[in-house]
């Protein structure tokens, strides 16, 4: 466990200093400024726009940063052979990958915390009503990013180019958000396609149930579904990490 901890602390420090981390913060400041501009147009809905654009930006930039870090860990380091150094030490491969993953998760957590504090400050300045649901939205953004990070790592491990894990992770991100939309088509599909869709729902992360910031005031989601949704994200991530570790054990660099 100590090795996992050490690797994760190293990853946290390494990524916190990286340019992509500070770039995302600058971008979010820029988006917040544009949110204020939008709000000048709409007046009454200004808090709604600031909140939506702000949370959307937090999610998007956290996603970008997490993917960069994930692909760097699982692909770039292998391609550049810099992975030899840590692996020559008494650290097991699964420990190294788990530590790296936890480090990325910690970075994403810090990033969401910082940007969230900034957005909350802005909303408070605008006297926006902030309920528990708003803060729950951050937890679910974090869970979504953790889930997609694990998928990004897995795809990077099986990819042979830098671009393909990016593209495939984005495709999975989009598909994961469309599961409820696909439900509409189920009645119009042949039974084989329905079975395929149902199995795909188990394999591809279901972001529909984690997309809380898009379902304001809990009208979509009853409170009883929060804990199962959190546990779903945790178990799904763990399952993907197990496969990733198994592949990483066998991978030759």
């Amino acid at each position: 466990m100590k090795s996992v901890h050490n690797v994760s602390v190293y990853t946290l420090k390494e990524n916190a200093r990286s340019r992509s981390f500070s770039l995302s913060v600058i971008f979010v400041v820029f988006v917040f400024a544009s949110a204020f501009l939008f709000s000048r147009l709409s007046e009454v809905v200004e808090t709604r726009v600031i909140r939506d654009v702000g949370m959307g930006a937090i999610q998007f930039f956290s996603l970008l940063a997490a993917l960069f870090f994930a692909i760097k860990v699982a692909f770039t380091e292998g391609a550049n052979k810099t992975i030899y150094l840590p692996l020559s030490r008494p650290v097991k491969r699964w420990q190294y990958l788990s530590g790296r993953f936890l480090g990325i998760v910690a970075v994403v957590f810090l990033e969401i915390l910082m940007m969230g504090a900034l957005l909350t400050g802005l909303l408070l300045l605008k006297n926006a009503p902030l309920d528990g649901f708003y803060f729950l939205g951050y937890l679910f953004i974090f869970l979504k990013i953790v889930t997609i990070t694990s998928v990004g790592i897995l795809l990077s491990l099986v990819s042979t180019s830098f671009v393909s894990p990016f593209v495939f992770t984005f495709l999975i991100w989009i598909t994961g958000h469309l599961f409820r939309e696909f439900d509409y088509l189920i009645g119009k599909m042949p039974s084989l396609a329905v079975i395929f869709l149902k199995v795909a729902k188990w394999i591809i992360p279901n972001f529909t149930i984690l997309n809380i910031p898009d379902y304001v005031e809990g009208r979509f989601f009853q409170a009883g579904g929060y804990l199962p949704a959190i546990l779903y994200a945790v178990f799904y991530t763990a399952a993907v990490l197990v496969i990733s570790c198994a592949i990483f054990e066998k991978k030759e660099f």
């Binding site: 939008f38 147009l41 709409s42 009454v44 809905v45 709604r48 726009v49 939506d52 654009v53 959307g56 999610q59 998007f60 991100w173 989009i174 958000h177 469309l178 409820r180 939309e181 696909f182 439900d183 509409y184 088509l185 729902k201 188990w202 279901n206 972001f207 529909t208 149930i209 997309n211 910031p213 898009d214 379902y215 304001v216 005031e217 009208r219 979509f220 989601f221 009853q222 409170a223 009883g224 579904g225 199962p228 949704a229 546990l231 779903y232 178990f235 799904y236 763990a238 399952a239 197990v242 496969i243 570790c245 198994a246």
Partner: protein
């Protein structure tokens, strides 16, 4: 041995993820217009699909609403006859018809059904500024119809209000379809069934009246029980065997 442990661990986590996904979904009601439905694509713009695909329906609706405000905030010269072009640039909005206002409004609300302000703003603009009552009613009914699906109390209240209004305006016969709908609900008061039976009786429709009285034969209220049995006995001679 190690391989079996890894596979076992994977299936353990995977099975739980499938289970919890199912449980979470059972608490989830998707309350938006489906992106693949006709209602969505007949109102949406190209950009709306992309933003929705990335899981940001609310942002797409916000952008659509800002575009609605931009459209409504100026005189759309392209909608004016050639002779009027350039004349109304500084005039008040009511000079222009803003023909596409309803389309903009439908786009907003079909992107995000929770966008109450978009319903109210566009309905007010259409009804009181543009004097297009039918379009204002259309957008409000769209909201009501959608909300009815997910809120039983609201749905019943709307039904009863409609019945009250229709009975006042058009009389007893016009209210029949509303009350027929009302008695289908399991918690419909016996009083409503009683009223419906009397309306049918008044119309001379004994077949339907007896159908409703039959529903009251086992009513918990003694008066309705008694009345229904009396009425059914009374109708016996009038109905064909």
């Amino acid at each position: 041995m190690r391989k079996i442990a890894v596979v076992g661990l994977f299936f353990f986590f995977f099975a739980f993820s499938v289970f919890f996904q199912k449980v979470a979904e059972s608490h989830f009601v998707f309350r938006n217009t489906n992106v693949f439905s006709r209602y969505f694509y007949e109102a949406a713009h190209y950009q709306d699909f992309w933003i929705t695909f990335f899981g940001h329906r609310r942002i797409a609706a916000d952008v659509a609403f800002i575009q609605l405000l931009q459209y409504y905030g100026k005189v759309p010269e392209e909608e004016l006859p050639e002779s009027e072009m350039g004349k109304h640039r500084d005039h008040f909005l009511s000079f222009s018809k803003h023909k596409r206002l309803l389309n903009y409004a439908l786009r907003c609300v079909r992107l995000d059904r929770n966008f109450d302000y978009a319903y109210l703003f566009s309905a007010a603009a259409l009804a009181w500024v543009q004097k297009r009552k039918s379009e204002a009613v259309k957008i409000l009914i769209e909201g009501i119809e959608d909300y009815k699906k997910y809120n039983e109390v609201f749905s019943k209240a709307v039904l009863y209000l409609s019945a009250i209004q229709v009975r006042d305006e058009k009389g007893d016969v016009a209210v029949l379809p509303y009350l027929e709908e009302a008695i289908k609900m399991p918690d419909c008061p016996d009083m409503v069934k009683n009223i419906l039976a009397f309306i049918y009786e008044k119309q001379g429709d004994y077949k339907n009246a007896s159908r409703i009285w039959l529903m009251l034969v086992n009513s918990r209220d003694k008066r309705y029980r008694k009345e229904s049995r009396r009425k059914l006995a009374q109708y016996e001679s009038r109905l064909p065997r």
